[in-house]
């Protein structure tokens, strides 16, 4: 049998989406935008505080209805310095590297927020460091998690 010429077809797909942030998510993002403040929510059953706020406490399966205002300092729980060329699905273009992805536990809450940390030297990073949020100026804030520019190390 004659050898088959193997073909493949190329297509680029671009589908815009609109994601609903929900009631708690919207409250969180508007307070972030308008006041430069973090809010979480507390489970009435176990007392744990969620940030970002969410619709249900997993272990208790109870809505954490109490809104809690949190400060802008916390602890770096863990991190990675990303150093490989990577296409950002948000923008479709390459994200500048190196950058540091951090998981931060803000003081007074029991879950983590992922964000950028402005230190890319692994020798200067370790779980447990104290960090503080750096907000964009009010006029640049649009109601997204990126209204916080990054977290800086304050140890």
């Amino acid at each position: 049998m004659k050898k088959t010429e193997l073909l493949f077809l190329k297509e680029d797909v671009d589908i815009p989406y609109n994601w609903a942030a929900g009631r708690y998510g919207s409250l969180f993002l508007t307070r972030l935008r308008d006041e430069g403040k973090f809010i979480g929510n507390r489970c009435p059953s176990c007392g744990k505080v969620y940030l970002p706020p969410r619709v249900v406490c997993g272990p208790c399966f109870t809505p954490p209805e109490e809104i809690v205002e949190l400060g802008d300092t916390g602890t770096l729980v863990s991190y990675s310095v990303v150093n490989y060329p990577f296409i950002d699905p948000e923008t479709g273009s390459r994200r500048p590297i190196p950058y540091t992805l951090g998981y931060i536990r803000l003081d007074g809450c029991d879950t983590y927020l992922s964000h950028f940390v402005d230190e890319t030297d692994p020798a200067k990073l370790t779980p447990g460091l104290r960090v503080k949020a750096v907000f964009r100026p009010r006029e640049e804030r649009t109601g997204r998690l990126q209204d916080v520019l990054h977290f800086k190390i304050v140890d």
């Binding site: 970002p52 997993g58 272990p59 990675s80 310095v81 699905p89 927020l113 779980p127 998690l145």
Partner: protein, 387 residues
């Protein structure tokens, strides 16, 4: 009382770039090989459990629509299961449940992916993050596992060499597995240390390759097994647990969901001391360091002892508890098939048919899978003796 169930046939495709096969062609090949493995015909299969991980990889949604006939599911029940990287394990467990329920006698589990059809599997993997509260900062799967690695290394005083030791062990094991993709002769710790740091603390050597592959397993009810094969792998237990994602006080170095799955799996299989009673283990090590963390979750050692278990040599091919003699996910990762490969490899070890990487005298073997936000875990334990 649930029906006793055994694996009677297994079909694998080689993990590599497959420009010669479409997605249905890839599934058909694995299915054909599973049928030939046990001498069944497609009409002997009562139902199909079908798996595939995020559709983003091939850009074709609802692949069970496209691939149904390629897996013999014409005028038969077909059930799609989806748990990300765990999917191959979840599909195998679903097929097991279908037979154990007594409603079906012979069921096919099949799962796969062609990761090479996208320009970047990592863009696809970034879309599994919450688009409002996290996707903005993540970089595919490596960044999440690097966060897990940073925590693990720092918490227990280990360093990146501990992950690289896993890479060296598994890459050398893969030389004996014709289905593995990364088969690199003379793979050394020194060489692994010199690979680029991609996502600190993970180097290229710590990461799995991008594969196209499918895997198929045929499960049969006790009363049908004998007529099909005299060398089945009996299912001793099958457990799936969702650990959750950003839950309160999460510690990535302590997989409590896996620990729960392991305890249930051992209890159901009557295993009290897994390190002694299991003869071989296949874990889903998409990244080297995870193998150490899964040792602990699976109770092969205590919390924090994974690095030391690796150092002891116990998990090498010739050790007392060999882990990933196939080379594991670190040497072949199509995502969709990978968690099933772990189960299929464990079943082949029990059957004594694992080829060059067969561990002598295996009577009980465990296959694991993880997926999602390092959150879904599946475990199947197979035995040579009927439970």
């Amino acid at each position: 009382m649930a029906t006793k169930v055994a694996v009677v046939g297994i079909g694998m495709t080689e993990n590599k770039s497959r420009w010669d096969l479409s997605l249905p062609g890839l599934y058909r090949l694995a299915y054909q090989r599973a049928l030939e493995d046990c001498g069944l015909k497609s009409e002997d299969i009562d139902a199909v459990a079908f798996g595939h991980s995020p559709e983003y990889f091939e850009g074709v949604n609802h692949p069970e629509k496209w691939c149904g006939e390629a897996v013999g599911a014409l005028n038969k029940p077909l059930f799609r299961v989806h748990t990300g990287g765990t999917v191959g394990g979840s599909v195998a467990i679903a097929a097991y449940y279908l037979v154990a329920s007594g409603k079906f006698e012979v069921v096919l589990a099949i799962s796969g992916n062609k990761l090479n059809e996208t320009s970047s599997a990592q863009i696809g993997l970034s879309t599994v993050y919450d688009p409002i509260m996290g996707r903005q900062f993540a970089a595919g799967a490596p960044s999440a596992v690097a966060v897990q690695a940073s925590k693990y290394y720092s918490q227990y005083g280990y360093n990146e060499d501990h992950g690289l030791m896993v890479a060296v062990k598994n890459r050398n094991n893969a030389l004996k597995n014709p289905y593995a993709q990364l088969r690199i002769p003379d793979y050394t710790l020194e060489g692994a240390r010199n690979t680029p740091m991609l996502c600190h603390p993970l180097r290229l050597a710590d990461m799995c390759p991008t594969s196209d592959a499918a895997c198929a397993m045929i499960f049969a009810a006790e009363h049908r097994v004998e007529a099909i094969t005299d060398n089945p792998a009996w299912v001793l237990s099958a457990v799936a647990v969702n650990e959750g994602i950003n839950y309160v006080d999460r510690d990535w170095s302590k997989p409590i969901g896996l620990r729960k799955a392991a305890e249930l799996a051992y209890e159901r299989a009557g295993i009290k001391d897994p390190r002694r009673e299991l003869d071989v283990v296949e874990v889903y090590d998409a990244f080297s360091v995870q193998e150490l963390i899964w040792y602990e979750g699976l109770k092969l050692c205590d919390w924090g002892e994974g690095g030391r278990l690796m150092e002891s040599g116990a998990t090498r091919m010739e050790g007392d508890i060999p882990v990933n003699p196939s080379g594991g996910t670190l040497c072949a990762n199509s995502i969709g098939a990978s968690a099933m490969f772990r189960k299929a490899e464990a079943a082949l070890q029990v059957m004594g048919r694992a080829g060059e990487h067969q561990i002598p005298g295996v009577r009980r073997a465990l296959g694991h899978g993880w997926g999602g936000g390092i959150q879904f875990h599946t475990i199947m334990i197979f035995g040579k003796d009927k439970p």
